[in-house]
């Protein structure tokens, strides 16, 4: 009888309490009541309370060991002497010590041989990029494009004033251009033909048209023909017979499409009349030799290196 479950399964025989009724019994409340809404008292596990208490104790030790309480001038320094600023300084020292072998190698290696060692070259380019961003980008631009037509040379193209070999770039960066501080600095000066009365307006106009013809721009053929002789007398000694320029004298080529102060008739005329040239500081005292070499390597690989 009892072995046959079928016989017992009738709703009437269910004398035991409904399992659901257990859930209907409310757990104890905290006694708080807001407009009849009561709060159940569901206490936390003991280990949880212990962890909370341990963190409280821990914080007291933390106050003593580490900088914690702010004062008027500074915070309490803590017994362990911890300082995030000192940590940063130590990390910088560590990095610089690690770079020291690279810098030494950079100074020892022949300028043109840097490129042949891929690891050294990568280091030089990366180090040079940060030097460039800090020291050079103010004038030459963060991308090295200079300021067009305002005299800050573009370092990305194949036109150079003072040469684009590693050697040339290193010399320029070390001593600067037209820099009174260093006798080694490169120096040249174009006469102000108009201001100083060396040429009259007509002659300047003729030379302007001659230069326009040299660079393949629109020009007056008669004026250009007349300017040829004036050019040879006054300009060719520096800019060359064909306008090819001269790195030794920092004389820009006039027969190409790259202009430092603009290539329009007006701009060329202005340059001849008033004379225009740029200056650059020397970095001999501001940068270490290795940093100068690094920035030269960086500039050299921007696209115009010779």
């Amino acid at each position: 009888m009892a072995d046959n479950p079928k016989e017992k399964i009738t709703p009437a025989s269910r004398q035991y309490p409904d399992p659901q009724s257990k859930l209907k019994q409310d757990p104890p409340t905290t006694g708080h009541s807001w407009d009849g809404i009561e709060e159940y008292d569901n206490p936390m596990p003991r280990w949880w309370v212990w962890i909370f208490l341990i963190t409280v104790v821990w914080s007291v030790g933390y106050w003593i060991a580490y900088p914690a309480w702010p004062g008027i001038q500074s915070a309490t320094s803590g017994l362990l002497g911890y300082s995030s600023r000192a940590n940063v300084a130590a990390e910088i020292d560590e990095f610089e010590a690690r770079n020291e072998t690279w810098f030494a190698q950079l100074v020892e290696t022949d300028l043109d041989a840097i490129r042949e060692d891929p690891d050294l070259h990568r280091f030089a380019v990366n180090a040079g990029a940060s030097v460039f961003a800090a020291q050079c980008s103010q004038c030459h631009g963060t991308g090295g494009a200079g300021v067009q037509a305002a005299g800050y040379p573009n370092l990305l193209n194949d036109a150079w004033l003072w040469g684009g070999t590693m050697e040339d770039i290193t010399t320029t960066v070390t001593w600067g251009i037209r820099n009174d501080d260093y006798p080694e600095a490169r120096w040249s000066q174009m006469p102000a033909f108009g201001v100083d009365g060396l040429l009259d307006d007509q002659e300047i106009t003729e030379i302007t048209h001659y230069v326009l013809r040299m660079s393949g721009q629109d020009h007056d053929e008669a004026l250009a023909d007349a300017g040829a002789e004036e050019y040879e007398w006054n300009c060719a000694s520096c800019h060359g017979d064909g306008g090819e320029g001269d790195y030794e004298l920092g004389a820009p080529a006039l027969n190409n499409q790259v202009w430092f102060y603009g290539g329009s008739e007006e701009a060329i005329r202005h340059s001849i009349y008033y004379s225009r040239f740029g200056v650059m500081p020397g970095f001999e005292t501001r940068l270490r030799e290795a940093e100068i070499r690094a920035v030269a390597a960086y500039v050299h690989q921007l696209g115009g290196g010779q």
Partner: protein, 475 residues
């Protein structure tokens, strides 16, 4: 302040649980599963897989330092991490599928918390004896016997915990090398800290927190109620058969009494310390041990098995009426589980297809826009691009670069002649590339010209490309 408030307690002390030993089919299956899963966990990092001289030979390796992830014949780069995301989604949907079909099988059989707790309880049983002996020892004062047994137990737990934490780090570095390094004190501090953290969590979670992790710490018990419905097959007590419960007296037939003889076997074996007869509850991980315990009792008192067993809620009416319950398959196959299966398999298929279709070379081109273009002495216009080439292959390979899309443009590499870039094995490399347009070409004179940069491997048919823009003089 009322007296009610002053009597409040800030915490609830844990009721210690001493599960009794039990034998049965579920227990046997759980031992096999435990052995299988621990075996997989410990052995996997030691499996070797030859990938050639330039790649690690560990079958499963998460090389976080080099950001490469190896799984047998599959190698994943960080930009292919969607494979891992896909696997995680599959794991999630798989969990939904199993929960909706079979309840909390993950919790009961496969969850590491359950597996390690099981192992720790077994160690406890070996050292201290079964439930009653452990209870007695627990209530005893700190005698030499208690101190000895407890310290032995904690030592064994700690060794297991250390082996657990120790095995974990082998997945992240070359296992044989790291093994030697760990024991000679040469391993990276991160390895030691990881081992220490996992040792302590295993030791505390498996030895002391146990069921509290499931009840207080784990979100999954609270989520899965949404996965289950009346067709879900899960562990339950057939109260219509068991009630009213009562002690069985020999030689006395009790017609008003149910099959449950209130022997508490199901409660005593429960690692969660609950009474399954109260119905489905948050704390039940459906480990199946109460089924084994109850079946054993039913056998002994000559009643049919299954007073506690896997059942679906929707069968209750049927069983009350004395009919046979619906078949397992008719419970399992329902729109919900079919939908989960289709989703799961769909994502799996998509991943497999993606795995076979993916290329082992990759390229991205970022144009340098500071400045947009450079005019050269002869009036030609040059644009610069940083081309990133990825060689997802065990050998260094030459990448040949070319371009299409515009007339009068030539391609050149910074710092080297030719158009071939050697990319080391399993590495990526960034190469600056120049496109130069002739002074009178439409690209040089114009504003923007679309161009396409191609890369291919010498001697292989596959080519890849990236589209970009060439900026002319007219900006």
């Amino acid at each position: 302040m009322s007296s009610e408030e002053t009597s409040q307690s800030l915490y609830a002390a844990r009721e210690p649980i001493f599960p009794r030993r039990v034998k049965g089919s579920f227990r046997t299956m759980k031992w096999w599963l435990l052995a299988l899963m621990l075996g997989i966990y410990y052995v996997t990092p030691w499996i070797r897989w030859d990938r050639g001289p330039n790649l690690p030979d560990q079958a499963v390796l998460l090389d976080l330092g080099n950001r490469r992830f190896f799984f047998f014949m599959v190698e994943i780069w960080p930009h292919e991490f969607y494979f891992v995301a896909g696997l995680l989604i599959m794991a999630g949907i798989g969990l939904f599928l199993f929960t909706s079909a079979l309840g909390r099988v993950w919790c009961g059989y496969a969850c590491p918390q359950t597996v390690w707790t099981d192992l720790f309880i077994q160690v406890e049983r070996w050292i201290e004896g079964d439930r009653n002996a452990r209870l007695r020892l627990h209530r005893q004062r700190w005698t030499g016997e208690k101190i000895g047994k407890y310290s032995l137990k904690w030592t064994v737990w700690f060794l297991i915990a250390m082996a657990t934490g120790g095995a974990w780090v082998f997945y992240f570095a070359d296992a044989p090398t790291l093994f030697v390094e760990l024991f000679t004190g040469q391993a990276h501090p991160v390895a030691y800290i990881t081992v220490l953290i996992l040792t302590m969590t295993t030791f505390l979670f498996g030895g002391f927190f146990r069921e509290q992790v499931c009840i207080y710490g784990c979100p999954w018990p609270r989520i899965q109620a949404a996965m289950m419905d009346e067709d879900t097959i899960t562990i339950g007590y057939r109260d219509w058969r068991g009630e009213p419960r009562g002690k069985l007296k020999k030689g006395q037939a009790a017609p008003s009494q149910g099959d449950c003889i209130d022997c508490m076997a199901c409660v005593n074996v429960c690692p969660m310390g609950i009474d399954i007869r109260d119905g489905q509850q948050l704390a039940c991980i459906t480990c199946g041990l109460c089924i084994d315990a109850c079946d054993d009792v039913m056998d002994r008192i000559g009643k049919p098995r299954g007073l506690i067993g896997y059942l679906a809620l929707s069968d209750e009416i049927r069983e009350r009426g004395g009919e046979t319950p619906k078949s397992v398959w008719s419970h399992v196959f329902r729109p919900r589980t079919i939908l989960y299966t289709v989703l799961w398999a769909g994502i799996g298929l998509a991943l497999i297809v993606a795995l076979f279709l993916r290329s082992d070379i990759d390229m991205s081109v970022s144009p340098i826009r500071n400045p947009t273009h450079v005019v050269l002495s002869d009036g030609a216009v040059r644009n610069a691009y940083d081309v990133r080439l990825r060689n997802m292959h065990g050998e260094p390979r030459p990448f040949i670069l070319s371009h299409t899309g515009a007339e009068g443009i030539t391609l050149a590499l910074e710092g080297q002649p030719g158009l071939v870039v050697m990319v080391p094995a399993d590495e990526q490399l960034s190469q600056r590339v120049y496109l130069t347009a002739r002074p009178d070409s439409p690209a040089a004179v114009g504003h923007q010209t679309p161009v396409r940069i191609w890369a291919s491997i010498d001697g292989e048919a596959e080519r890849i490309y990236a589209d970009t823009i060439f900026n002319g003089r007219n900006q």
